[in-house]
Assembly symmetry: D2
Amino acid sequence: MSDPARDARLSYVLTLSCPNRPGIVAAISQALFELGGDIAGAQQFDERESRIFFMRVVFSVPAGGVERAVLGQALAALAARFDMHWSLRESLRPTRTVIMVSRFDHCLVDLLYRWRIGELAIAPVAIIANHPRETYAHIDLDGIPFHYLPVTAATKAAQEARMAEIVRGTGAELVVLARYMQILSDSMSAWLAGRCINIHHSFLPGFKGARPYHQAFARGVKLIGATAHFVTPDLDEGPIIEQDVERITHADTPDDLIRKGRDIERRVLARAVRYFTECRVIPNGRKTIVFNP
Amino acid sequence: MSDPARDARLSYVLTLSCPNRPGIVAAISQALFELGGDIAGAQQFDERESRIFFMRVVFSVPAGGVERAVLGQALAALAARFDMHWSLRESLRPTRTVIMVSRFDHCLVDLLYRWRIGELAIAPVAIIANHPRETYAHIDLDGIPFHYLPVTAATKAAQEARMAEIVRGTGAELVVLARYMQILSDSMSAWLAGRCINIHHSFLPGFKGARPYHQAFARGVKLIGATAHFVTPDLDEGPIIEQDVERITHADTPDDLIRKGRDIERRVLARAVRYFTECRVIPNGRKTIVFNP
Amino acid sequence: MSDPARDARLSYVLTLSCPNRPGIVAAISQALFELGGDIAGAQQFDERESRIFFMRVVFSVPAGGVERAVLGQALAALAARFDMHWSLRESLRPTRTVIMVSRFDHCLVDLLYRWRIGELAIAPVAIIANHPRETYAHIDLDGIPFHYLPVTAATKAAQEARMAEIVRGTGAELVVLARYMQILSDSMSAWLAGRCINIHHSFLPGFKGARPYHQAFARGVKLIGATAHFVTPDLDEGPIIEQDVERITHADTPDDLIRKGRDIERRVLARAVRYFTECRVIPNGRKTIVFNP
Amino acid sequence: MSDPARDARLSYVLTLSCPNRPGIVAAISQALFELGGDIAGAQQFDERESRIFFMRVVFSVPAGGVERAVLGQALAALAARFDMHWSLRESLRPTRTVIMVSRFDHCLVDLLYRWRIGELAIAPVAIIANHPRETYAHIDLDGIPFHYLPVTAATKAAQEARMAEIVRGTGAELVVLARYMQILSDSMSAWLAGRCINIHHSFLPGFKGARPYHQAFARGVKLIGATAHFVTPDLDEGPIIEQDVERITHADTPDDLIRKGRDIERRVLARAVRYFTECRVIPNGRKTIVFNP
């Protein structure tokens, strides 16, 4: 940031996965070096069970140097050689994001605040709610298109079709269910696989399903938590991205749990979204790899 | 501690529960005052659902003042008036404790160390193991009787009978399952109700049953935990006394989880045992009240 | 809450401190009982060094029963007998609060959100900023009077006089320095003693003074924190109300620390303000007693 | 572990630092690849201020393949080219460790337990105490040489000379001050630079110097901590390796802080020692880089 030499460069994040075998790191770092790339950070993970290799590389090239298309060709050649899935993204481009919300707006408010002060590299392209705009009267949406899409059992298919239209129309790369209290259909969940993050208000796999704070109260646990995960057709079973907990006591009522939970939900969801925008999360079957600094 | 006036006094902990109604605190504090008691600390909890009132009072009387029997009579009179369950215990008397263990000895070693340096007010009256003494060759038992009680499906009833004999014979007030990997029978669990603490190596209610760290690994959670709870016939469903967690990542193998888990198990179990010895834990149906400072 | 019988009652919080001696609890609980009071919760602390006794009692009286003035007379009589400081407050009355802020508005935004959804029992009677209203253009102040009070060395005395006028004029019970980056004068600090909470963006007593995140970065600590404390003339030395920390690594830049710090600051300040509004905090010399459930 | 192919290989950890410039990663990974090396994990850090590049590479070579001397030559050639400091270590060789202790033995007991069950890859080659063997009567030293080296102001130089002799004679790679309550001389500290870890019983930089728990009690903090750091002549200012904290309340006495502190000290010191044995810690001026998974 304070380094002008680096600032005149274009920064990229490369993520990849492939069957593990010797020589991958050498081939990638050599290819990037030859294209004028300077590796600023790299993380890798060698999954023992599946023998899949995962890697995240942050690198820069001189502005005016190699073009993105040329980078892409070089990576495609490596991909062919190593049977590699890969994705390349400019570091500074914000992630086009649709936020979905129901009545409780604490996660929405939090995400918008972090976006506004430049903490979260998202570009909110739409807010979709199953409650009308006046529910969020105190929130300055700052021009973000707001879509009121109420839903009943009868209209669910149509509502999801409209939702998909918005996602497609905005070119959204990420859909965040920010305490959106409707269950997505299997087909919608499948369509959004790997690009839709939900916040579940329990420490999964404890207290799946509805009213998790009331379940936690009934069971008498001593810590409550929240879980950000990718949405899959298998409800509350999607790959976990981030979790956190807070201590409670016998004296905490369900209302107290809900209050303490809001704080956990906000920070867990914000972290998960940040990891996503920084290409730190790679789904890996039922699990995720999260390359943290 | 540094107060000689207080040191010449006898210190007690009174715990009680009764249907809630006005005047309880006044009656108890007045009774203790009239008997020369000085209340050093009190905690109370008013359970909204059941309308049961719970209280823990630490008080002292002058040495050579009112006798324990007289205290008991006064409390019995109050108990009759308020329909009260109560228990009175001298603060400084260590809790007679049986520790049960299987192959993994980290919790046993930890409890014994805390006992030896005077941190934990237990008096270990027996160690029961389903592995022979040589499994614990490096541990200085310091004269604590060691009972090797191996167990098979065929001998389980007899083994538990022997176990019960030891608990009875030693006058044990507490049985700690310090990673004792056998499931107690329903009748044994019921007989030990409210005085037998188990450490479960997961953050209940997630990952009940066997091999919880392997379950946690398979599910891809981002935090693992341990749970100390009272043993009940309902396996892994006993009232929770204490829980804690630690952060893990995708790079942690099941062996790493087991290693990190040992630390959590040790401190969670030690806290639960300490709360018990200080009369801070009161079972309340499926839950517990833990009066922490 | 779900108890209609209790809802027809008036609820109070009594806090008190006095030299410790036997009989205090009995006298207070007896007096409240005689006035028709039902004690819903009580916490006490016996400070060993100073032999001062502290207590917080939550109780209710039937609506239409004893009047507040009569309660006050009974407490005054007890106060005379036990040399007691005391304070009585209706539980449900929100705390009249002035919030002061500088350029960074994350704590302000957070407090207002918690107020708006009914989580925090404050009544914001004024916002005072040394930056103009447009700095906070995105915040819906919802009618809370906003005072722009810029300050220079030359105008400081006048600015503080104006500030005091606002505090007086609004009947504020609490002043929150929500990342207000000006140092209050000694006389202002003294005048606000016990009713002015500041959030310091370090884990005091580490990194006092300016730019604590940069100090933390330079020292290479592995956790950073925030501290909410009462303001005293002794800068960064006021009684601590609440602290929390978060883990950092060598890879976190000062900007990352500032980002992570915002989250800690918000939740630490919000907790401290909540403790204050619920009469849980009692200053005790250089320290505080915080009666948590 | 469960992979026989990998088990027939020799595993190494390479750590290095050098001025940052493009091509380093490519050169290292290419060199290792050409020598038959398979990179199992790599972490790197690009220090912005100093423009120093740090890297840790875990790799394996086939058993019976390239010899260590050949690896060394290849690395020496790279070192010359990139002006690189480097170190190569077989992953499975335990770290020869001297443990120093005073009266409080909780850290010693903990380290020995972790060593005994194979959790910590140390080989304890000596225990040095300034208290006699009987102070640790309950500890099974299992043949580890015990050296009683009492110390007074008059004998300090001689005592340290003897200590140095033991370190040299045992070929110790690491000295752990496991609550060793003597201050090492400047020359001794300098001689042990980068290979001597101390556990300080406070959350540095708060509460430097003596009796930190009493300082914490007097200041009224709400969390206490412990700090593992490299020893330097600058007391309590050495590069921090690991820190952790635990919550306390106004009701905790100094004795309670000491009790809670023991738990923090144990786990913080054990983590720091583990990071060292796994070559995860690289000193970086006043700070450290800790490459965690």
